[in-house]
Amino acid sequence: MTQLILFDVFNGLIVGAFYALMALGLSLILNLSGVINFAHGGFLALGAYFAYTMMPYTGFWGALLIAPVLTAIVGLIVEWALIRRLYGRDPLYSLLLTFGLAYIFEDGTRFIWGPQSLPYSVPNWLNTPLSTDFFFLTGYRLFMVLLVVVAVIGLFIILRRTRLGMRIRAGTLDLDTVSVLGVNVRLLRSLNFGLGIYLAGLAGVLAAGMLGLQPTIGTSLIMPSFVAIIVGGLGSLPGTLLGGLLIGVASGVVTVFFSSASEAVIYVMMAVVLLVRPRGLLGEEGRLQ
């Protein structure tokens, strides 16, 4: 029994890590550009399928390195061709546009790679359980958690220590001033978008090894990511991270006791947070108005 609980909680933690990776990308784009990127799940799926396609040639590690970058490049192209036109307009339009893109991505991946679930192999030595008592602790799962941790630390280093990150953070607070100070805001938004999509692609490469590779993989992860942002606090990246992990673990715990409510519980959490603390756990005051 303890094993079962641990299993589900650990599962929840991993899923929560995916939510967090995805939600961080969404948050970056939302905070700087005011765009809710509904197609984020589509980019995640794209990353996973890129990895699948190149794996026979590059192996798992090569795919892990290259696929997210390719996804980010697709993201940059989409931003340049479509989303860029909608900055500064009613957020309704970018939401509708990315909504349409989500359709196209899901259907496109289905068209190219087929509707069925594809075999997605991870290196064998990663897939063996580390101990017989804790059968669920495969190396791959630990590795995923580790990689998510590395990615998140990397992201925060970029945001804290580099010029680009500083500008992103400044732009989140006051884009006009940043623009007046001579920063190329267009480029900043593009790079920021690319960074967000890179995280989605990375999440995709990792998630496919655990959740299975099918065209709907992105759609099933995007809604919880929205919840993660709201629970964690609008405008706060550490909050988003916390929110993702929290709802992942919560749905893991609930799976043990009442498995059919494992999806609904995160929305209950969101309702409670909105009731008690509308700006979210770590949200900044005044972001809502």
Partner: protein
């Protein structure tokens, strides 16, 4: 002159709707398609009450649409075989849920409001999807039929007669649209417009902004759940897709396509969207890509909608 114009446009629309069962077959349509256009139009016009006339973006209206659908289905299946009772149950369910969720979210604005409505929309989807014993899960809830209307002195067979059902939908549509139009003309509606145009100024004038947005949200959801009940009655069936996020997206694109700033816009948007969807999904398996492309094209080239463009042409 413009006033006269507007009135004659309204009259023309009502005449077209009244005579629809008689001219639709001539242009290659079928009765169910016409009824579906009207139902989607009602849903989108209700959304537009909030979106176009209060300036609040909800991307989760499918939840209340679907609650209406499930409400009527369950009422007919489990409580009593009465269509009016079913509609009442459906509308009450949707409105109640909207009143509760609305109270949680009225303090959020803009993108954040949209995001929370998207997320909340999913709760009901998962409930319908997971609670197999009651909702039928993914297979949907069938095994019930809409029942003939019984007025005591007369019966109307809305089950066997498609035209009769269309006219029932039209009557309810007219009622709903009439109420919304009257509300928008009343001081309440003017206040909503004021909030849309400048929320801060409205607040300084002493208007309880949150209360008005909440009321607008609840009214909008009331009529959306009415549309949902009719949607379920139309096919004598409902499934979780009726309350999934893509349905919410359809409502918004219909409103935008027709013209958010105009009262009748969503009706025109619904006609275009439903017919197009019907045609594309009969032609290709990859209809999702085409609908997605359609979204992108509308946003890039028709952000003001069909009526917005016509109006600009006329005024220039």
């Amino acid at each position: 002159m413009i006033e006269l114009n507007r009135r004659s446009v309204s009259a023309l629309i009502w005449i077209l709707l009244l005579a629809l069962p008689y001219w639709l077959p001539w242009v290659g349509g079928y009765q169910e398609l016409g009824t579906r256009v009207l139902i989607m139009a009602l849903a989108a016009m209700s959304l537009n009450f909030l979106l176009g006339f209060t300036g609040v973006l909800s991307f989760g209206h499918a939840a209340y649409f679907g609650l209406g659908a499930y409400g009527v289905a369950m009422s007919l299946k489990f409580i009593a075989p009465s269509t009016p009772l079913g509609i009442l149950v459906g509308v009450l369910t949707g409105t109640l849920a909207a009143a509760i969720i609305g109270a949680l979210i009225v303090r959020l604005r803009g993108v954040y409001f949209a995001m929370v409505t998207i997320a909340f929309g999913q709760v009901f989807y998962f409930i319908a999807f997971r609670w197999n014993d009651v909702t039928g899960g993914d297979d949907g809830l069938g095994g019930w039929r809409r029942q003939p209307l019984d007025f005591g002195f007369a019966q109307i067979d809305i089950l066997g007669n498609d035209k009769a059902f269309y006219y029932l939908v039209l009557v309810l549509f007219a009622l709903a649209v009439g109420v919304m139009a009257a509300l928008l003309r009343a001081p309440f509606g003017r206040t909503l417009l004021a909030i849309r145009e400048n929320e801060r100024r409205a607040r300084f004038l002493g208007i309880p902004v949150e209360l008005h947005i909440w009321l607008s949200f609840v009214i909008s959801c009331l009529f959306v759940s009415l549309a949902g009940t009719l949607y379920a009655l139309l096919s004598n069936f409902t499934d979780p897709r009726a309350l999934r996020w893509d349905m919410s997206g359809n409502f918004v694109i219909i409103a935008v396509l027709g013209g958010m700033r105009s009262f009748w816009g969503p009706l025109i948007g619904a006609a275009i969207f439903v017919v197009l969807q019907d045609y594309i999904s009969s032609q290709t398996e990859n209809w999702m890509s085409f609908i997605g492309l359609f979204f992108v094209l509308v946003v890039l080239f028709f952000p003001r909608g069909v009526l917005g463009i016509i109006r600009r042409r006329v005024s220039s």
